[in-house]
């Protein structure tokens, strides 16, 4: 448990809690951005440079903006007067807590806890690119197809339907 990791973890969890608890939707999304940045920092801690930057580029640069736009487009900008939590929030919290308990318990008694890190790993961009172009070329094609489909689909769904 190193100091940077502790800072990152605390920051990320705090931001995540904020993203889930705050009343104002815009604040929620900004907190979410902080959580994303924290995750990226965690990736960097794990020597995964490329993924860390990709995380920042995609989530902070694109997804956060998307969410913010959606918030504004659904009039979420101002905090609602009635409760932001659904009627059955107790059960939800209990289930989430149960899931966490189960996960934590499993992790603690799993043999994974004895794992030792490989002393020096590096994933250079060149290696990743080679892997993408040779071994993972098919998933790459598929993901490209998926993104295209998502683009078209999103446009068509969000398009204003003409008055009948």
């Amino acid at each position: 448990m190193t100091i940077p990791f502790a800072i990152i973890a605390v920051l990320t969890i705090a931001a995540a809690v904020g993203a889930m608890m705050l009343r104002n939707l815009v604040h929620c999304s900004l907190a979410l951005v902080v959580a994303f940045v924290g995750l990226a920092a965690a990736y960097l801690q794990l020597d995964a440079q490329f993924v860390g930057f990709a995380q920042v580029l995609v989530y902070v640069g694109a997804v956060a903006i998307l969410i913010v736009f959606a918030v504004l487009l659904t009039r979420g900008g101002e905090a609602p007067e009635k409760s932001v939590f659904s009627s059955s929030w107790i059960w939800g919290t209990l289930v989430a807590a149960g899931v966490f308990g189960m996960l934590a318990w499993t992790i603690n008694n799993s043999f994974a806890s004895q794992r030792e890190p490989a002393e020096k790993v590096e994933a250079t961009v060149k290696q990743i690119g080679d892997a993408l172009m040779t071994k993972f070329v098919l998933p790459l094609e598929v993901i490209g197809l998926l993104l295209t489909a998502a683009l078209i689909g999103a446009v068509i769904i969000a398009m204003k339907e003409e008055k009948k």
Binding site: S86, S88, W91, G92, V95, G98, M102, T134, V137
Partner: protein, 704 residues
């Protein structure tokens, strides 16, 4: 590796690039797009001349003149087995085809600048045309069956686009569909063949220094294996691939689309028939000739797939020629003649090897392009009249067209000694005569030659001689309103005027092609069979041996007979009015009617399909109405009876318990509906619980 070999891909790439650019261009830029298309064709022509020269001065004859350039395309699995390779090959066959395609294509482009001048979709037209030419060039240079197939399908697509170019005409749209679907039939089999070949040899490259699928090791391997029905695997694959060729180059029984393809603009027909599409089929057979000809050591050569090729070709030759005798549409006649000539080429490939077939392909390309463009010029001059019975006497109106057309017609008939068609056809007949299996293809070929001469004479006589019958019934005839909406110039005035000669941009290509149709004859005579030896076929005897002379004499006699009969029937006293009865209708047992409706092949196909449909539909209706219906009826009666019995029982016994059960059901439904309330979060919550339960279950020994 020489520059031209490495950059051979530029030849098809340039027209395709031109197509892409003119696709980007706005519709108004007519000059831009035509310039792009023609310019790219010129450059490709020059490049292919370089390639040709390269093969010439590299002139080892035949197999050792091959140079190819392969590159890995992409890798779908680790190891060299998973690498899919493409490539291109430069050998005499490729070089000759390249020069022919680019040259004829270039002339056709220039010609269509004049022909399409009034069409407002000029830009689209040239975009498609150059794509078409580019795809065909791709077929020619391909060194990988896969690359060849890709270009092949591109050819099919563009042919669809071009035949249906005037898609506002339902007939054109139908013709386009027909062509596309008919060729698909062949291509499916072709594709099966490709996959089988890949599974057998593990490569699709033709030549890959020793590892290619056309080279000795692979062939030997395939010849050794035998399929279930006893023929060698190589033969089976060859037949499958040949099916593709049958579809593309309109052999019986898949020839039906070719005549309908006349619905496209005339330059398209010229391109399809002369240079690109139908030639692709013949070229394919020539390309995979080693596979076709592969046969076990012991067996005779004729056990191979070539026998089928020969028979199909011979049958097609006579069959189509006989149909052509009775057509009236100037372009249809040419179309059927193309079909029969393709038959000749296939027959030549079958009996005489690559060189014979290819020689006829080349010569035919030139004079058939000439004929089509001549026909186009005639149509253009007669204000989109296509029925030859409404023409006549055009000799004095359009002299240049007449002269060039006559040259083309004589070349097609195989007029002795000066015309290239004579030599190429004679070579085919000669080798057919020498064929050891049977003499029937030879006789069929002879008959075809006679018919060819006959119907060409008939056409020329009806079109150019006699006096003009165009003045009546222009505009009333069905094909007279051909593309009025797309030809602005003719749409406005349909008053019958005198036919006129076409502009120079249309006549000059005709003249050049006519020159070629004569000049080409020097490269393939038996005296100096340069072409054959260039394509690497070493004849036993060259020069005019006795039987060569006798065959030449025979075919000349045949040709003269055909010409004579044709002239005697049509030229001597030309018909006066369009309505006059056809002379041939006096033929016994209604043969002419059979010819006129093309042996009813179309009707046959449609009738069989439709009959089958109708019959099965009736059967289903019958089953539905009587069998199932009856069962249902019986059941219903049974139910009625039972219910009648059970009513008493019901009213006395059940009703007491019934209300309680109803309440139970209602309560259950309420409970269920609470689970199923359409709120996402409830579902999600249940999933969460389920996850916990599942994991715990797995941990506490439930896993094993």
């Amino acid at each position: 590796m020489v520059w031209i070999v490495k950059n051979l891909w530029l030849i098809p790439a340039l027209p395709i690039l031109a197509a892409g650019l003119s696709a980007l261009a706005p519709q108004r830029c007519r000059k831009l797009s035509s310039t792009l298309a023609i310019g790219s064709m010129v450059v490709s022509f020059l490049l292919s001349l370089c390639a040709f020269a390269h093969t010439l001065q590299h002139g080892g004859h035949g197999a050792e003149a091959k140079e190819y350039f392969n590159f890995p395309w992409f890798e779908f699995a680790a190891g060299s087995a998973g690498v899919l390779q493409l490539g291109w090959v430069l050998d005499p066959l490729t070089a000759v085809m390249l020069v022919m395609v680019t040259f004829v294509g270039l002339l056709i482009f220039i010609y269509s600048v004049g022909y399409m001048a009034h069409d407002e979709n000029f830009t689209r037209f040239f975009c498609f045309m150059s794509l078409f030419a580019g795809a065909m060039l791709g077929v020619v240079i391909a060194n990988s069956l896969l690359l060849l197939f890709i270009s092949w399908e591109l050819v099919g697509l563009t042919s669809y686009l071009l035949i249906g170019f005037w898609y506002h005409k339902p007939s054109a749209a139908a013709a386009a569909k027909k062509a596309f679907i008919t060729t698909r039939v062949g291509d499916v089999l072709f594709f099966l063949g490709i996959m089988w070949l890949y599974s057998q040899t593990g490569t699709l490259l033709f030549y890959d220094n020793g590892a290619g699928c056309l080279e000795q090791s692979a062939l030997a391997g395939m010849v050794a294996k035998a399929t279930g029905i006893g023929m060698a695997v190589s033969t089976a694959i060859g037949l499958l691939i040949f099916a593709g060729a049958v579809g593309k180059s309109g052999q019986v029984p898949l020839h039906v689309w070719l005549p309908d393809a006349m619905e496209g603009p005339t330059p398209v027909s010229a391109l399809i028939h002369a240079a690109t599409m139908v030639a692709a089929g013949v070229f394919l057979v020539a390309r995979v000739y080693p596979l076709m000809g592969a046969h076990a050591e012991g067996a005779a050569a004729e056990t191979s797939a070539l026998q089928v090729v020969t028979w199909i070709g011979a049958i097609t030759a006579v069959f189509a020629a006989s149909i052509a005798v009775a057509q009236n549409d100037i372009k249809r006649i040419l179309a059927y003649s193309t079909v029969s000539q393709l038959g000749y080429m296939m027959m030549g490939l079958g009996v005489g090897g690559v060189a014979v077939g290819m020689f006829h392909l080349i010569t035919h390309a030139f004079f058939k392009a000439l004929l089509f463009m001549g026909a186009g010029s005639v149509i253009h001059g007669c204000h989109d009249e296509q029925n030859i019975r409404h023409m006549g006497g055009l000799k004095k109106f359009m002299p240049v067209t007449f002269a060039t057309y006559a040259v083309g017609m004589l070349a097609l008939c195989g007029f002795p000694l000066v015309f290239s068609g004579f030599w190429s056809k004679d070579a085919i007949l000669h080798s057919a005569h020498g064929w050891s299996v049977s003499k029937i293809p030879f006789l069929l070929g002879v008959a075809g030659a006679f018919l060819t001469a006959f119907y060409m004479t008939r056409q020329v006589a009806l079109v150019f001689f006699g006096q003009n019958r165009a003045t009546h019934s222009v505009g009333t005839h069905s094909t007279a309103s051909h593309s009025t909406s797309s030809k602005v110039g003719d749409a406005v005035e349909r008053v019958p005027t005198d036919p006129h000669e076409s502009p120079a941009v249309m006549t000059w290509p005709l003249i050049i092609l006519a020159a070629c149709a004569i000049g080409l004859s020097v490269i393939g005579t038996p005296a100096w069979p340069w072409f054959q030896s260039f394509l690497g076929q070493h004849h036993g005897e060259t020069g005019f041996t006795s039987d060569v002379i006798s065959l030449m004499a025979l075919s000349s006699v045949i040709v003269f007979a055909g010409l004579g009969v044709g002239w005697w029937l049509y030229g001597r006293k030309p018909i006066q009015k369009a309505g006059e009865p056809e002379v041939l209708e006096k033929l016994p047992l209604g043969m002419h009617a059979w010819f006129a409706k093309k042996y009813g092949i179309d009707e046959l196909y449609e009738m069989t399909v439709i009959r089958f449909n109708a019959w099965s539909a009736k059967a289903c209706a019958f089953l539905d109405e009587w069998v199932w219906g009856g069962v249902v009826l019986l059941v219903s009666y049974a139910i009625l009876g039972c219910s009648f019995v059970s009513r008493f029982f019901d009213e006395l016994v059940i009703n007491l318990g019934f209300d309680q059960s109803c309440d139970g059901v209602t309560r259950g439904g309420k409970f269920m509906s609470r689970l199923q309330d359409g709120r996402v979060q409830n579902y999600l919550r249940i999933i969460g619980v389920a996850l916990v339960v599942l994991v715990l279950f797995l941990i506490w020994g439930g896993g094993k």
